[in-house]
């Protein structure tokens, strides 16, 4: 205790030095989490502070992640972009729109400018709301989540990350270090259904990712199940990759139907299960048509 009191990074005074921690690297952050179980990590605060302000959450201690340099940076890893868990949406939009158009499009729909200046991928993943907007594009792109603890690092595919409503494989002693997103290998789309054009929690959302050379389709569904979902059946649809012909109406219809089938929606305040399925089919068809149109432009 006394030795910890001398920590120059700790601004707290007296006996309460354990109230607020300011690690500057991930190793320090995970040690801090291990030493203070129950301490609540805070990044942008856009989820956690709502809970605190409304007294649903009364943390005795918090760990500020905004000073952890590695979390605030993104880097080009060749085939993929490694995005630190603490990079706010505004920077994803500004810096990564070209290489990760799907994730950037989803980021543009998050909250408001003020929320996008603060909110992070790490916070979205840790909260693991089925309605979180980052999830569908991460699923569609086949992203991986890098998790850190005092035991070291592990990497989990986004598709295995979510385990239930607001639940994930993240243990109490772990932090999300980064998200590794393969660079777009073709057109990507994100569509979100909400009550108005800004500041909406999605009623349902859909992300599509086409890999032209690999002839692969990625499809992620948001807000229409206990977790964000991959539409695996829809992903195995045959498309006229060999440029043998146009995208047939039948293929588009079928893609929409398969995406709707993959959903496991419920009725809630934002919409009924039936509406969500219907809207998802529309989103999926529209996404495929738009992506294909983009591809045809590239081909011609």
């Amino acid at each position: 205790m006394n030795t910890q009191l001398k920590d120059p990074n700790d601004v707290s005074v007296g006996r309460t030095k354990e109230m607020f921690h300011r690690p500057t690297d991930i190793e320090e952050a995970v040690s801090c989490l291990a030493a203070h179980p129950g301490a609540v990590p805070i990044a942008g605060g856009t989820d956690v502070m709502v809970g605190v302000n409304y007294r649903r959450l009364r943390p005795a201690a918090m760990i500020d992640l905004t000073g952890v340099v590695e979390l605030r940076e993104w880097s080009d890893e060749g085939d993929a972009i490694r995005i630190g868990a603490g990079v706010p949406y505004a920077r994803i939009i500004d810096d990564l729109g070209g290489v990760l158009p799907g994730l950037a499009a989803a980021s543009r729909t998050v909250g408001s400018p003020q929320i996008r200046n603060r909110g992070t991928l790490g916070g979205n993943l840790a909260t693991a709301s089925p309605a979180g907007d980052a999830h569908p594009p991460l699923l569609a792109a086949g992203a991986k989540v890098e998790i850190a603890s005092t035991a070291g690092r592990r990497t989990v595919p986004a598709a295995d990350f979510y385990t239930g409503p607001k639940r994930s494989v993240l243990a109490e002693s772990e932090l999300i270090a980064a998200v590794i997103v393969p660079k777009a290998a073709g057109p990507q789309q994100f569509l979100k259904v909400g009550n108005r054009g800004a500041m909406v929690i999605s009623v349902c959302s859909f992300a599509l990712s086409l890999d032209v050379e690999g002839r692969a389709v990625g499809a992620g569904i948001g807000s229409a199940g206990p977790t964000p979902l991959r539409a695996t059946e829809a992903e195995s649809i045959e498309l006229p990759w060999d440029k043998s012909g146009p995208l047939g109406d039948e293929t588009v219809e079928r893609f929409g139907a398969l995406v709707a089938e993959a959903a496991r929606p419920i009725d809630d305040v934002r919409g009924t299960a039936a509406y969500r399925r219907h809207a998802l089919a529309v989103c999926a068809r529209r996404a495929l048509l738009r992506a294909w149109k983009e591809l045809l432009c590239d081909w011609n």
């Binding site: 109230m19 408001s112 800004a198």
Partner: protein, 191 residues
């Protein structure tokens, strides 16, 4: 339980003493530091009335933990907003009850700092996080255009950089040559 930290508010170094780690910047500003420029309406990030600039970025102060702000620069409506923006709001009737105004002024100052001549769609996008229950937004958009014109004119005269906060200007008079159909004059008021 005590936690002490120093931050820069509207250009002045101030010390805050907190008794819990999750106290919001909004609460600290208003209740511990007596700086009531940022308004408290929802405390859940939805309304934007508590918008401030944190190290130059627009954020909702209700969702920032004060303890995250050690050594950082906070600008409220009192220190973030060029005179032309305030003047344009008054001149265009963009203020009715005034509760949303401080947050909007900060968001507009931020917008004009990044984009000196925004189009309507860009203004709507930039102000999407600031709710106003009174004006219907049209007058606010007019005010942004008016402020942009005034700032550009000012900067052409002085050659000053676009992001410089300007000193307060005298109350606006009704001006028959106002652009964008601004035709009302607001009398001084406080919220």
């Amino acid at each position: 339980m005590r936690l002490e930290l120093t931050l820069l508010v509207d250009g002045e170094a101030v010390t805050a003493v907190l008794d819990r780690p999750g106290e919001s910047l909004l609460r600290t500003l208003r209740e511990r530091l007596g700086r009531t420029g940022a308004k408290n309406a929802c405390e859940q990030g939805e309304c934007g009335s508590c918008t401030v600039l944190l190290d130059g970025e627009a954020v909702v102060s209700c969702l920032v933990a004060t303890a995250q702000c050690e050594g950082r620069e906070v600008r409220t409506v009192a220190g973030a907003v060029p005179g032309e923006v305030r003047e344009a709001f008054a001149a265009c009737g963009a203020v009715q009850c005034g509760f949303c105004t401080p947050g909007l002024l900060v968001s507009v100052a931020d917008l004009l700092g990044r984009n000196p001549d925004p189009a309507d769609a860009e203004i709507r996008e930039a102000l999407a996080g600031n709710l106003c229950r009174c004006t219907g937004y049209e007058k606010i958009i007019e005010a942004v255009h008016r402020a942009a014109t005034a700032r550009t004119a000012e900067n052409t005269h002085t050659g000053a950089p676009g992001t410089r906060p300007l000193p307060p200007s005298p109350s606006p008079e009704k001006d028959p040559t106002l652009p964008h159909g601004c035709d009302s004059v607001m009398t001084e008021g406080r919220t």
